[in-house]
Symmetry: C4
Subunit: 379 residues, 4 copies
C-alpha cells in the first residue's frame, strides 16, 4: 500500500497510476480556482455561492491530504538516510513549500475575509502548484536568464520610448484636450496603451502633430516587439540545442552496444537521437504502418508480437531497424510492458548517419543478427 502510494508520488517514475493521479490533482486545482473566481460574482443564483464554498473546502482538504501523504511516503523514494532526515529534507524542498502555500494561507484567510478579497488572490497559489511539474517552464526561465542582458536593453528602450512619447504627446496635445492629456502621468497611460498597440480608445490624439507622435510610437512598438521576438527566438534555439544534447548524452551512455564506440560517435548520436517516455501497455509501432524510425530501449521492456512466441526486449536492446533499412512497413506490433524510456532514431538522421559512420551500421547489423539467432533459438 505505502510502496504503491510512494510510486504514485515519485516524480522520477512514470506509471499509469501516477499519470492518473496528476490528472486528478490538476482537476481539483482547476475546480477550486473556478469556484473561487465564480464566487466573486455578486448576483449568482441562490445556492451557487454555498456550492462554490463547498468545492473550495473539498479542494483545500485534498491538498492537505496530498501534502501529508507525500510526507508519509517520502522515505521510500530516498535511499541511504533515515526516514526522519528524509522527511526533514523534504520539508524544506520546493515541492513541500508549494504544497504548504496551497493550504496554509488559504486556511488563515478563511477566518478574515474569505470570498471577497483573500480567496481570489490565494487561488493564484493553486495555479503555481503546476509550474512545479512543467519542464517547459524551467526552460523558459533558462531562456530569460541566457538573454538577460538583451532583454534588459529592450525593456530599457521600451521605457525610454514610453517616456519620450508620453512627454512629447503631453506637450503637443494638452492644448486641444486639456481634460484627457492633463498631465504626464495621465499621458503615460495613453503612451503605454499605444506603444503595446493595445489601443483602448479612452484617450485619442486629435491634432495632426499629436497623431504623428502617436504613429511614431506605434511603429516603435512594432520594432520593440520584433526585437523581443528575435532575442527570445535566438535564446530559445540555443537553449533547446544545449538541453537536447545533455539529455541525450546521458541516455546514450546507458545503451550497452554504444559503450565501445568512441566518444566522438556518442556525441554525434546524442545530437541525433530523440527521447520518448511511454507508460506500460502502449503501442510503440503497429504492424503494417510506415517504418520511419528505429528505437533504442533505455529502461523498461517491450514485447514484439511475433508468432508463435512474442519476443521481449529489455534495456540496451533496440528494434525497428528492419523497416528502416528495407523501407518496408512494420512487420510486427511492438507494445511496452511497463513504463519504458526509448531513444528514437529518425529515418532522415539514420540515412545521413549510416553513410558517414559505416562502422556503426556494422554494430547494429551484428547485434540484429545475434538477436534473430537468439529469437529463433527461443522459439
Amino acid at each position: 500500500m505505502r510502496r504503491l502510494t510512494a510510486d504514485i508520488f515519485d516524480d522520477g517514475v512514470i506509471s499509469r497510476a501516477s499519470l492518473v493521479y496528476r490528472t486528478v490533482e490538476a482537476s481539483f486545482a482547476i475546480a477550486g480556482v473556478g469556484a473561487m473566481v465564480l464566487d466573486t460574482e455578486p448576483d449568482l443564483p441562490p445556492g451557487w455561492s454555498t456550492a462554490c464554498l463547498a468545492v473550495d473546502i473539498v479542494v483545500l482538504g485534498f491538498f492537505v491530504l496530498d501534502w501529508l501523504t507525500r510526507l508519509w511516503v517520502i522515505p521510500l523514494s530516498v535511499d541511504g538516510i533515515s526516514a526522519a532526515s528524509a522527511r526533514m529534507r523534504w520539508l524544506t524542498s520546493r515541492a513541500s513549500i508549494i504544497g504548504l502555500l496551497s493550504f496554509v494561507p488559504m486556511g488563515l484567510a478563511a477566518f478574515i475575509d474569505w470570498s471577497a478579497t483573500g480567496a481570489p488572490v490565494l487561488s493564484i497559489l493553486w495555479v503555481v502548484r503546476f509550474a512545479h511539474y512543467s519542464k517547459g517552464i524551467d526552460m523558459l526561465f533558462a531562456v530569460f536568464a541566457r538573454e538577460r542582458q538583451a532583454i534588459t536593453a529592450v525593456l530599457f528602450m521600451f521605457l525610454t520610448t514610453l517616456l519620450t512619447g508620453g512627454v512629447l504627446e503631453f506637450l503637443v496635445e494638452r492644448g486641444a484636450q486639456p481634460d484627457h492629456f492633463r498631465s504626464v502621468p495621465q499621458t503615460l497611460w495613453w503612451a503605454i496603451t499605444t506603444l503595446t498597440t493595445t489601443g483602448y480608445g479612452d484617450m485619442v490624439p486629435t491634432t495632426s502633430l499629436g497623431r504623428l507622435v502617436a504613429g511614431g510610437l506605434m511603429i516603435s512598438g512594432l520594432i520593440v516587439f520584433g526585437l523581443l521576438a528575435g532575442i527570445l527566438a535566438t535564446g530559445f534555439a540555443a537553449e533547446m540545442k544545449r538541453r537536447d544534447f545533455l539529455r541525450n548524452w546521458d541516455l546514450v551512455a546507458q545503451v550497452p552496444i554504444f559503450r565501445d564506440v568512441g566518444p566522438g560517435t556518442i556525441a554525434d548520436l546524442a545530437n541525433l537521437l530523440r527521447p520518448r517516455e511511454l507508460p506500460g501497455r502502449t503501442v510503440v509501432a503497429r504492424r503494417g504502418s510506415a517504418g520511419d524510425c528505429m528505437f533504442f530501449i533505455v529502461s523498461g521492456e517491450v514485447e514484439i508480437q511475433v508468432d508463435p512466441v512474442p519476443v521481449r526486449l529489455g534495456a540496451g536492446e533496440f528494434f525497428g531497424e528492419m523497416a528502416l533499412v528495407t523501407g518496408a512497413t512494420r512487420n510486427a506490433t511492438v507494445v511496452t510492458r511497463g513504463a519504458t524510456r526509448l531513444l528514437v532514431l529518425d529515418i532522415a538522421d539514420f540515412r545521413a548517419f549510416a553513410s558517414a559512420k559505416p562502422e556503426l551500421l556494422d554494430i547494429i547489423q551484428q547485434e540484429a543478427g545475434r538477436r534473430s539467432t537468439v529469437a529463433a533459438g527461443s522459439a
Copy 2:
C-alpha cells in the same frame, strides 16, 4: 472516360485536368460558403435569399457527385486488390469521411433549421475540405507537435499571468468602477483583451494602481507573444530542414547517374537539391534568360528547343548545366511535355559543391559529353 476521371481525382498525379478540377472544386466551396454566410443577413434585397439557397443546393449536389465519382473510380488508382475492397478501404479513409461530412449533416439540417443556425455552422466543414489538399497544414501541425512541451509552457504562463492580472485588477479597480470591474470573471474578460493587446476599450482602468497593473499585463503580453514567436520559429526551421532532407533523399535515389555515387554524396545532394513540380507545356527555362540553376528530371519529359530537331530528355537526365558552368545566358528554351518532377540545383550550391566534390563534376561532364554526341547523332 473512367480512366481519365480517375487521373483527375488521383492526388499523386499532377495534370492540367486535375489542376483545373481542384480550382473548380475550390470555387464551388467558396461560392457555397459565401452564399450561406450572406443568407444570414436579415435585410437582404428580395430574391437574394432564394438565390443563396439555390447556390447552396447546387454546391451540395456537386459535393455528392464528387464523392460518388471518387467512389466509382478509386479501384483504378489502387493495384493488386479487388474493386470492392479498394472501395471499402477508401470509404474509411480521411478523404471519404471529409467528403461525407460535406453533405450528410448539411442535408439533415435542411429539414430542421436551415438558414438560421445549422447552415452557417456546417459551412465550416466545406472550408475544412481543403485542409486535406494543403501540404503546408500538415507541416504546421508537425511544428506544433514538435514544440508541444514549450507551447504548453507558454500557454501555462499565459493563463497564470491572466489569472494574476485579473485578480489584482479586480481588487484594485472595483472601488472606483464597481459596475465594470464587478467580479473576477468580469475582470478576466478585461484581462484577456489587455494581455493579447486587443484593447476593446469597453472596460478601462482609471486608478493609478489599476493602470500600473494594466501596463504590466500589456508588457507581459508582448513577452508571451515574443516567446511564442521564438518557439514556433525554432520549431519551424527544424521541421523544414527534416522535411527537405527526406523528400530530396527519395527523389535523388531515382536519378540514374547518382546510383553509383556513395551514400555520403547522396546525403549531401539531398541537402542541396530543391524539388519543383510542373504541369505539361510549361516553360522551364527561356532562351536568353540568366542561367542560375540546373535541373534533374525525376519523372516526365522535357523538350529542349534547339535547331534543327528539338532534343527530348526523360527521367534520370538533366539539363541547364552549361549556362551554370559558363555563366552565360540560357542557349535554348526548355518546355515540359507532360507533368514533370524536377530537382533544381541552385548556382550558389553548385559552385560550393563542385569545389568540394570534384568527382561529381566529372560524372556530370561525362554525361553532358555523351548526351551532346547522342544529340549530334540524332540531328
Copy 3:
C-alpha cells in the same frame, strides 16, 4: 554633358552626382504625394489648395523630364547595339514603364476629376517608383516566394479560424445583442478585428460564452502571428545566406591574389567577406581608430595617407591587415579616390580563418611584404 547625365542615370555606377540626383528625385516624389494628400482636406486655408496644385504640376513636369532624359542618354549605357534599338529595348523595361505610369495616368486624370478622386489614387504610383531602387524589396519578395507554401497554409488557418470564430460568435451572441451581431458577415467583421488583436471596440461580446469564444480567437490570433513570424524568420535567414554567398563569390573572383587558391578556399572566403560600396573622397579607416577589419579592393582606388607620399592602391590590392595582425590601432588614414567597391574581412572571421588556412595567411604576408617594398621604393 550627355556623358555626365548618362553617368547620373546609370544604376550600376555610384557617384556623388547620382546619389544627389536620387535624393532630389525622392524629395520631388515626397513633396508631390504630400501635396496631393493635403489637397483632399476640405477646410484648408485659402490659397493652400492652389499651392498644392502648383507643387503637383511641378513634380509631374519633373517626372516627364526625367523620363525623356533617360530615353535620351540610355544608348551611352549600353554597348554593341544601335541607339535606336537601345531606346526601343529600354521603352519596354520596368524602369521605363514605372516612369510612364508616374505621369501618363496623372495627366489624363487632370481633365476629369483631379483632386477629389483620381489624384490620391495615382499618387500611390509615385511611391512605387522607389521600389525600383530598393534591393531590399526584391529580397522580401524572394522570401515570400520561398515560403509560399507555408504562408498559404497560415493564411488558410487564419481564414478557417476567422470563419469558425465568426459563425460561433454569431450563434452565441445574437440573442443578447441582435443589433450588433445581426448576421454572419457582420460578425466576421468583429472576428477579424479580434483575430488580428486590433479591437476597435465597436462590437464587443457581453455574454460569458461569447467572451470565451472571443478569448479563444485572440489567443489563436497570437499563435497565427507567431507562426507567421517564425516562417518569415526562417525564410529570411535562408535567403540572406544564399544572397551573401552568390554576391561574394562574384566579388572574390575579381581579386587577383585569390585567383590561384582552390575553389574550396574561394567558397570559404565568399562566406566570410562582406561587401561595402563607397562613393569617392570617403574615409575608409581613420588613423588611430581600432583596427577591426581588413579590406580588399574590388574596383576603384584608395589612397593611404602616409608620409611623405601617399600610396595609392587599386583593384585587386588590399589594406588594413597590419592593424588586424598586431591588434594595434590604424597607423594611417585611408580615403577612396572615386567610387570604390570593397570586400571587408572582419577580425573575428580573420582569426578563425587564419588558423584553418595557414597558406592564405602566407599569400597575404607575401603580398604585404611586396607592397611595403614598393611603397618604400616609391617614397
Copy 4:
C-alpha cells in the same frame, strides 16, 4: 581617498563599491524623473509640488557633483599622459557630454518655464544617462546597422501599404461617414492605427467594402510585423555569434595553459567558453551542488575551501573539472577573493570537445595532477 573614488568611477573595474554607486546613481535618476513627471499633475495635494521640486534640485546637485568628481579623478584611470590632457580628452568624451546634458539645460530651464514644459522634456536626458552603461543597447544598434537595408525595405513596404490603404478607404468610406473619413490625411490616421493593429475605435469603417479594405490592412500589418520580427531575429543571432567569438578569443588568449595549443583549438575554445564576471567574496560553486561546468580564471583570485588549508588559485588556473569528469557533486566550495573574471566551460560542450580534441584533455589532466601535488605539498 582619490584612488578609491577613481576605482568607483572606472567602468573597466567591477568592485562592490562601484556596483553600489551605480545603483545609487540609478535611484537618483529614477527619483528625479518620477518627481518631474508627478509635478505636471495639476491637482496634486498641497505641498507635493514643493517636494517634487526639492527632489529635482537634489538630483540635479548630485549630477553636478558626479560630473565634477569624474573630472577630478579621471587622470588616475589613464596612464602615460598628463593630468591636464587626460581631463581635456575626457571633457569631449561621450560620458562627459551626457553628464553635462544632465544638468546644464536643466539649470537653464529653471529660469524660464520650469515645471510646465521644460522639465518633463529634459527629464528624458536623465534616462539616456543609463544607455551609456548598457552593453545591450550597443548590441541592439549593431543589429539595426547590420539589417539596415532590410529594415528600410520593410518600412518602405509599411509606408506604401499605409498610403494605399488610406487612399482606398478614403474613397470607399467617405460617402457613408463624411465626418470621420473627411480627407486623406484624416484617413491615414485611421490607417496607421489599423495597420499597427492598435485599433483605438475613434474611426471605424461601416460599409462592407470599407471593412474589406480594413481587413486587408490588418492582415498586412501582421505580415509586416512578422517580417520585422524575422529580420531582427536573423540579425540578432548573427551579431550575437560574432560578439561571443571576439570576446572569448581575447579572454582565452590570456589563459597560460592555452598558449601552446594551436590557433585552431583556440578558435574552437572561443566558441565554447562563456565569460562570467564576479565581484569579491562571491560563491562560485557550492560543495554538494551539481557539477555542470568548469572554470578558467582570467583575472583575480579564488579560494577553494578544502581542509586543512584553503587553496588559492590565480589568473591562468582552473577548477571544477573533477566534478565534470566524474559527474559527482562539487567536493568543495569555491569563493572569489576579489573582482574575478572567469571563463565557464559547460558540461555539454566539455563532453563534445573532449571527444574531438583528446590532446586538450591531456593538458587539463596534467595540470590537474601538477596542481594536486602542489596542494598536497602545501597541506
